[in-house]
């Protein structure tokens, strides 16, 4: 990029938005892939890379993708938790690449819970 004009700042900001939002953490949606030993053995890495590719391909800049430990239901791994801002988290079980793709378009992008893959809505009480 050579010399820029005031209007180019906006273009650079757009280009940087995802990088910056990922650091600020106040995203519209948060997707957690459970990466306990059980999750990894069941293929959670593949789910993660599918998600990362989707985010990249579609230029999404307001979705945080993160990992957490085993969710306690090892027989149903790989698992995914989707949490839209202001809504209860939804846990999906027995994930594969295709299910991940449909959850991505329907729930994460369009805001509709994919009931057939969902295990539960809400989190367990802590303490």
């Amino acid at each position: 990029m050579g010399k820029i004009r005031p209007e180019d700042l906006e273009k650079i900001r757009e280009r940087m938005a995802r990088t910056i939002n990922m650091r600020e953490g106040d995203a519209r949606a948060r997707v957690t892939v459970h990466m306990g030993t059980c999750g990894i053995a069941a293929g959670a890495r593949k789910i993660m890379s599918t998600l990362m590719d989707l985010v990249e391909e579609r230029g999404i800049d307001d979705v945080v993708v993160t990992t957490s430990g085993c969710a306690g239901l090892c027989s149903r791994e790989p698992m995914l938790t989707v949490e839209l801002k202001g809504e209860a988290p939804v846990k999906y079980v027995d994930m594969d690449e295709d299910k991940t793709k449909s959850i991505f378009s329907e729930h994460i992008i369009s805001g509709k819970v994919v009931k057939e893959y969902a295990l539960a809505i809400g989190s367990e009480r802590v303490g």
Binding site: G2, M16, R18, T19, E24, H34, T66
Partner: protein
């Protein structure tokens, strides 16, 4: 552009770098590759995070997990546990001194939660070596606004209304300074950023330049447009190689984007910046000495003409932090800025905390915050729960503020009224282990050394004050010395040419005011109550408390301690050099200092 799901914001400030931050970066990247995570997790070197006491530190975004005291060897564990499996590594989290369990999130740690970042708004959030990251967080937006839609008068009005005052020491209203230079008909005009920062223990300006050089550059370009300047200098000391490197890179990147040079943003405005490296003397930070230095002459202060000039032309000199505040004021408005702070002092101030304090580091706080909040809530108090004695604010030529004034709200006027000053923001915290006479002697030694020698009151006066203080610490003080110190102090303050001399007596006069009894104990009783001045103390062993464990004897470098195991020991006063090693070694508080 490729972006990561997880960003490891690894502190790349001078402190963490000297503790191996770059090695940790390499190790993390190696481990990430091993687990095929290099496209998912990025390691970003940021500027100073501020929590220097716990360095090297890193913050993992977006979850804000704060890691401390990192070592190269920790990389494998962090990558596998946290970045692969999503489980933060407990052992590397921070546990506040008074608590038992670690606090994983940065925003829950007291050191960070009471801070308010304006000048340091991008610290730890961006890679300072990438201009796009600065732009991504609204960088150069204020400049675009100023150049395309604001008249000089409007910008000055905004800066004046914001209440911004110089952060380099004197607290002069920035808008008023700009207005006087704008009206000056002489050309060309110059802009200078004062990044000399000569106070021992201070690193505010270095950190701003290292963490966010573009914020300073953007402020300078706005200032240049307002007064009609065509050339700017960042005056920075050679001892700051990392800051110089990042500033140089930032200037090059800004030039590439046409934000410096000719026809900025295509608006026809020309301005460029060069770095001027000073050799690093305290007096070089003083305005008139600084311009002499840039002009290629000996950096001695001059009798101030009504206004300082550079090569006989108008110049605006502002401090690093002052410049860094400017874009934020333009973006968010004078009203917002002036809503923070006190009646006379608006916005925030960056302080460096050093000395006897748990959380040594760099903090930015709203004006009006109390010293107590800074020292205890943010600073975490004194190590080992020791008693707080005083804080020296305003650098070496500031003054000490005693415990009785801990609830003082920090602003320019309040600090002056307390016999100290804001200065550039160095804070040195002292516990009962500090001898106030010795501290005053230390600062005077520094100031006497840094006195340029041009004017007699400063040159000779500082030397005379130092000799008296040394004498008192040696136990050879005379009763009339205290009056002489006060008299000398007044004279030096009145008669010196520049701010260095005018403020030089402060540490002595303020400690005399608040801790006169300590001076008197040295002179009249030949005692140093804090147990610091070697000529006035003896180390002995309490026979009742001594368990005869031999630990002190083993550690004594002089072999001055004798005694059988399980029998009380004794110290041979002829051999003792009063180093205090035995005091630190003893587990039974049996070593006495008096």
């Amino acid at each position: 552009m490729k972006s990561y799901r997880t960003n490891v914001m690894l502190c790349g400030g001078t402190g963490c770098v000297s503790n191996g931050a770059f090695k940790i970066k390499d190790a993390l990247e190696r481990e990430l590759k091993k687990h095929n995570l290099e496209n998912e997790v990025g390691v970003i070197m940021t500027g100073c995070n501020g929590f220097c006491a716990q360095g090297p530190v890193a913050v993992v975004k977006p979850d804000e997990i704060f890691y401390q005291l990192l070592k190269e060897e920790d990389a494998a564990h962090i990558v596998e546990e946290h970045f692969l499996k999503g489980r933060p590594v407990k052992e590397l989290l921070y546990t506040p001194p008074a608590e038992k369990s670690p606090v994983p999130k940065m925003s829950d740690i007291g050191f960070f939660s009471k801070q308010r970042l304006i000048a340091l708004r991008n610290r730890g959030m961006i890679d300072p070596e990438q201009i796009d990251e600065y732009i991504g967080r609204d960088g150069y937006k204020a400049l675009a606004k100023v150049l395309t839609s604001m008249k000089s008068e409007e910008v000055i009005q905004e800066v004046s209304d914001s209440g911004l005052r110089g952060r380099g020491g004197a607290g002069f209203p920035t808008g008023r300074k700009w207005e006087s230079r704008r009206k000056d008909p002489r050309t060309p005009k110059y802009i200078v950023c004062n990044a000399d920062e000569g106070d021992p223990g201070a690193f505010m300006d270095r950190s701003i330049v290292e963490a966010d050089p573009h914020s300073v550059i953007e402020g300078m370009i706005i200032g240049a447009y307002v007064v009609g300047a065509s050339k700017g200098y960042v005056y920075i000391r050679m001892e700051y190689p990392l800051a110089v490197k990042r500033m140089r890179l930032a200037i090059e990147q800004a030039r590439e984007y046409g934000l410096l040079g000719e026809d900025i943003f295509g608006t026809g405005f020309d301005f460029d910046i060069d770095i001027f490296q000073g050799a690093g003397a305290f007096v070089c930070g003083e305005t008139t000495a600084l311009v002499s230095s840039i002009e290629g002459r000996i950096p001695e202060p001059r009798q101030r003409p009504p206004r300082t000039t550079l090569w006989g032309k108008p110049v605006v000199i502002n401090n690093v932090e002052t410049w860094a505040n400017v874009p934020a004021i333009i973006n968010r408005g004078a009203k917002w800025f002036s809503s923070i702070g006190t009646e006379t002092s608006k916005g925030t101030k960056v302080f460096s905390l050093a000395g006897d304090i748990n959380n040594a580091g760099l903090v930015e706080v709203p004006m009006g915050i109390t010293l107590r909040e800074i020292v205890f809530d943010i600073g975490g108090g004194i190590p080992k729960g020791m008693e707080f004695k005083a804080v020296q604010t305003g650098g070496p030529s500031g003054g000490v503020i005693p415990a009785s004034q801990l609830d003082l709200p920090v602003d320019y006027e309040q600090l002056n009224a307390a016999g100290s000053m804001m200065g550039s923001g160095g804070m040195i915290i002292m516990s009962r282990k500090s001898c106030m006479v010795d501290v005053a002697r230390y600062f005077l030694e520094f100031l006497n050394d840094e006195s340029c020698g041009k004017c007699t009151p400063c040159r000779e006066g500082s030397g005379e004050m130092l000799r008296i203080l040394e004498r008192i610490c040696q136990g050879e003080g005379r009763p009339e010395d205290l009056d002489t110190l006060e008299e000398l102090g007044e004279a030096i303050r009145e008669a010196s040419l520049c701010g260095l001399g005018q403020s030089l007596p402060n540490p002595v006069l303020s400690s005399l005011e608040h801790f006169r009894d300590e001076y008197e104990a040295h002179i009249n009783d030949k005692k140093c109550p804090a147990g610091v001045c070697k000529a006035l103390i003896t180390f002995t062993i309490d026979k009742e408390k001594c368990k005869g464990c031999r630990l002190c004897a083993k550690n004594c470098p002089q072999e001055a301690i004798s005694g059988e195991a399980k029998e009380p020991h004794t110290i041979d006063q002829d051999k003792c050099i009063k180093c205090g090693v035995c005091l630190d070694a003893c587990k039974f508080d049996a070593v006495l200092v008096a």
